[in-house]
């Protein structure tokens, strides 16, 4: 049984995720604007957008089924759960045993399937087109993501995220070449999974080029707010996951006000740097032709497999 402080911590971590995710999206947008020589929207812009959407009424297509109405809640729940499992402030998380790294990939896949089904549910050509492209990206990205997790699992002999982070975070400082390969692969997968440039463009208004946006074109009001919030949670979860796997320093094993404070400030710092780097990548890249996306994700998969091989060949030698 988990202790009461651990439960509180788990709850705190969820609240933090819900509040910090829109800030992270806002930060990335700010950096993109600065890098593009534009004046940036305020950091809290995404909160205002969510508030606006929650105020607005929901407009539903006549032929929308209950699946279309349920999908935003399922997607949001998936992303909230995902951001609870990823160790950010502490590795002693009561919910962590509920899902390991492989289940986490499954949670992301579940959200994706619901988004795709909802996109097809209303029967517009854009929804179907977006769903089709999303599944293409998904089935290429998921194996690569799993391979990244397997590399980390091989190092720590566990698929539990908490154990992985504990092992990686508490080890003697050593350079793991395998993790470098895995890190690059993870970054590429994250760009694709979060519908960022160069795979997708989250800010486009061109229906024909959309992937993620095409699926959710018909959503409005609170449904759209939940989906947008879920998308920012996903970005947050992926960022935290990347930081936990590849830069795990600063996540304490113990709970206590002081270690919390250290953990929180290091998290904020790392997210700020990560967000800036994401904006930098997005500013410097053009979008790939959609049929280059398989090459892009194929490269990610190759790198992830290479990471495992490197680990087996170089790092397990005794």
């Amino acid at each position: 049984m988990s202790s009461a402080p651990a439960l509180v911590l788990q709850f705190l971590e969820l609240i933090l995720a819900l509040l910090a995710a829109p800030l992270l999206t806002g930060w990335v947008n700010q950096c993109r604007a600065w890098l593009g020589n534009r004046s940036a929207p305020p950091l809290t812009q995404f909160y205002r957008q969510l508030a606006k959407l929650f105020e607005k009424e929901v407009v539903l297509a006549d032929n929308a089924s209950s699946l279309f109405r349920a999908a935003p809640y399922v997607i949001f729940a998936c992303m909230a759960l995902a951001s609870m499992i990823v160790p950010t402030l502490s590795t002693d998380l009561p919910f962590a045993p509920a899902a390991d790294a492989i289940a986490l990939v499954g949670i992301f896949a579940l959200a994706r399937v619901f988004a795709a089904l909802a996109g097809m549910d209303i029967g517009t050509s854009f929804g179907t087109m977006g769903a089709r492209r999303e599944m293409l990206i998904g089935f290429l990205a998921e194996p690569a993501l799993l391979m990244v997790f397997f590399t980390a699992s091989l190092i720590s002999h566990s698929t539990s995220l908490s154990t992985i982070v504990e092992t990686l975070g508490q080890r003697e400082f050593a350079i793991y070449p395998s993790l470098a390969f895995a890190g690059v692969a993870f970054t590429m997968v994250s760009l694709a999974e979060n519908a960022r440039i160069p795979v997708d463009n989250p800010t486009t208004h061109l229906e024909l080029t959309m992937i993620h946006e095409a699926m959710i074109l018909e959503y409005s009001g609170r449904h759209l707010a939940l989906i947008e919030w879920a998308a920012s949670l996903k970005l947050y979860a992926y960022s935290c996951l990347g930081l936990a796997l590849f830069f795990p320093w600063g996540i304490p094993e113990t709970t206590g006000p002081l270690s919390m404070l250290v953990a929180l400030s290091s998290l904020v710092l790392k997210l700020a740097i990560g967000g800036f780097l994401l904006a930098l990548i997005e500013t410097l890249s053009a979008k790939l032709r959609i049929f280059r996306a398989p090459e892009f994700l194929g490269t990610a998969f190759m790198l992830a497999v290479l990471a495992m091989l490197v680990h087996q060949l170089l790092e397990t030698a005794t």
Partner: protein, 514 residues
């Protein structure tokens, strides 16, 4: 005189441009069109007019661009059965022009495509608003009609319908894609959503102020349209425009060209998700437009060109500021061009995308930037140039590959060339008056103005009415020829590349729907 060895007697219309006009019959029209095609000429415009109040039924006017200039042939059509031979087999771009002429006037191309073009069930099929006895202010209840799109059959073929209402705030056009997976097998366009009845409205304008309406047919080409209109009005009334006014007109036209090219270059980058390009080029365009507003009183310099001259003046510090801005913009555009040229991701999107084959461009009489990117070397500033272009020695931009990259390069070339022209104009601007009075025009006399706008050649054919009024004014946008060619340029490309390809053409909606 004779043209192309055909049995038609042409007379040269008065005015600065070589415009030759002849009357013909059905066989003569077909023979002349065939000879024009044979000689490498192109179809510029096709329109009709209602001459029943003069007792001659309807008339069909077809304009061809030849080496000798513009050849305008007129075919009289009987009032009872206004029919003429279908020109689409010779010039496929005639298809939509003929359909538009039927919607507006009820004149029929024999055996041709009879689907409506400008009419969207907003008025009955037997109501032809451009007939002189037709009251265009009549209101009809909104209706819906099925438009028979051409279907593509086959396994796995499905349709994607886009627009006319889009996810962004852009002009309305409907695009029907037949695709297999992501590959486009066929695109069919349906335009006409912004039809405003401009040509009917012209009939209520006076010859001396029709330029204001002409300048609003297509806002991004307001200078080209206004100049073409004024040129037509000046030709038919025999007005001698002061030299200084002509040079100032060229200055405005080149400024319009640069403003649009800068905007397009940014927007094309943005459509490949390089928003850096958009913000940089829009910054340059904004500086450019602000100087226009400051010097000429309007960002797009609307209403700056008036019949008989210009309504703006370039006072002393103005010329110096224009020259300084040209230097600054040239420097920055060079740097941005280097970034575009060296960006591997961007070039991967540009190269081989949306290729318009030179043969196809010629088939569709494609002119302007789209034509010059596909080996079609048409540029009125170098072919039969009017003053001041006869003294400016314009260099024509030309590329052969016909893809998005070529259209980007043509724009860069033209920006640099226009900057050179602007500096030369400012340096050599002659002194003198700005306007000349517009003499009264004889009723029924015809004038043509033909100007190389930033998109391509804009043609205005103007017929004077009684007491200084306008009898008929037809304005023709170059996009009429490029829209159907775009349907071919997209074939075999993938659906998500369409916005980029479309942006690289950046065709007019309002200009063709007018």
């Amino acid at each position: 005189m004779r043209l192309l060895g055909q049995d038609l007697e042409f007379e040269r219309l008065p005015g600065a441009q070589p415009v030759h006009r002849a009357a013909c019959d059905d066989a003569g029209l077909l023979a002349f069109a065939a000879a024009a095609k044979e000689s490498g000429g192109r179809l510029v415009a096709l329109w009709g007019s209602d001459e029943r109040d003069r007792g001659t039924g309807f008339a069909l006017h077809v304009a061809f661009a030849l080496a000798e200039g513009l050849a305008l042939v007129t075919l009289a059509l009987p009032a009872g059965h206004p029919e003429y031979p279908d020109l689409a087999p010779l010039f496929p771009a005639a298809n939509r022009l003929q359909r538009a002429a039927f919607d507006l006037l009820g004149i029929v191309a024999r055996g041709a495509d009879r689907r409506p073009w400008l009419r969207h069930a907003n008025w009955p099929a037997d109501f032809h608003p451009l007939r002189r006895d037709c009251d265009a202010s009549r209101q009809f209840p909104p209706q819906n009609e099925d438009y028979p799109f051409v279907r593509v059959e086959g396994e796995g073929v499905h349709e994607i319908a886009v627009g006319p209402i889009h996810a962004g705030v852009i002009e309305p056009g409907h695009f029907r894609f037949s695709v297999v997976g992501e590959k486009v097998l066929r695109l069919e366009e349906r335009l006409g959503w912004t039809h405003k009845g401009v040509e009917k409205r012209f009939e209520q304008f006076r010859l001396a102020d029709g330029h204001r309406l002409a300048g609003r047919i297509c806002g991004d080409s307001t200078v080209a349209y206004a100049w073409a209109y004024c040129l037509a009005a000046e030709s038919l009334s025999g007005c001698q425009v002061p030299q200084r006014a002509l040079w100032l007109r060229a200055l405005l036209l080149e400024r319009e060209r640069i403003a649009n090219h800068l905007g397009d270059l940014g927007a094309i980058g943005n459509d490949a998700a390089l928003s850096f390009g958009l913000s940089q080029f829009m910054r340059l365009k904004e500086d450019w437009l602000r100087l226009s507003a400051e010097l000429f009183g309007h960002r797009l310099t609307m209403d700056a060109i008036v019949p008989g001259g210009v309504a703006v003046e370039l006072a002393d510090p103005g010329g110096q500021r224009i020259r300084e801005q040209c230097d600054a913009i040239e420097r920055e555009t060079h740097r941005l061009k280097n970034i575009y040229d060296e960006h591997a991701g961007l070039q991967d999107r540009f190269l081989t995308t949306g290729r318009l084959d030179p043969a196809l461009a010629s088939e569709y009489s494609v002119s302007g930037i789209a034509g010059r990117a596909s080996s079609q070397s048409w540029d009125l500033r170098t072919q039969n140039p009017i003053a001041p272009y006869d003294e400016l020695d314009t260099q024509i931009a030309s590329h052969r590959s016909g893809d998005v990259a070529a259209r980007v390069l043509v724009r860069f070339d033209e920006v640099f060339e226009s900057l050179r022209l602007i500096r030369r104009i400012v340096d050599r601007l002659p002194r003198g008056g700005l306007t000349a009075p517009l003499p009264a025009a004889r009723e029924g006399s015809l004038g043509v103005g033909w100007i190389e706008g930033w998109r391509g050649d804009v043609l205005v054919a103007l017929s004077a009415g009684a007491e200084g009024g306008i009898r008929r004014c037809h304005a023709h946008d170059p996009s009429w020829h490029v829209w159907p060619a775009l349907e071919h340029a997209i074939m075999g490309n993938i659906v998500p590349d369409f916005p980029l390809i479309n942006k690289s053409f950046n065709l007019a909606y309002s200009g063709v729907d007018s």
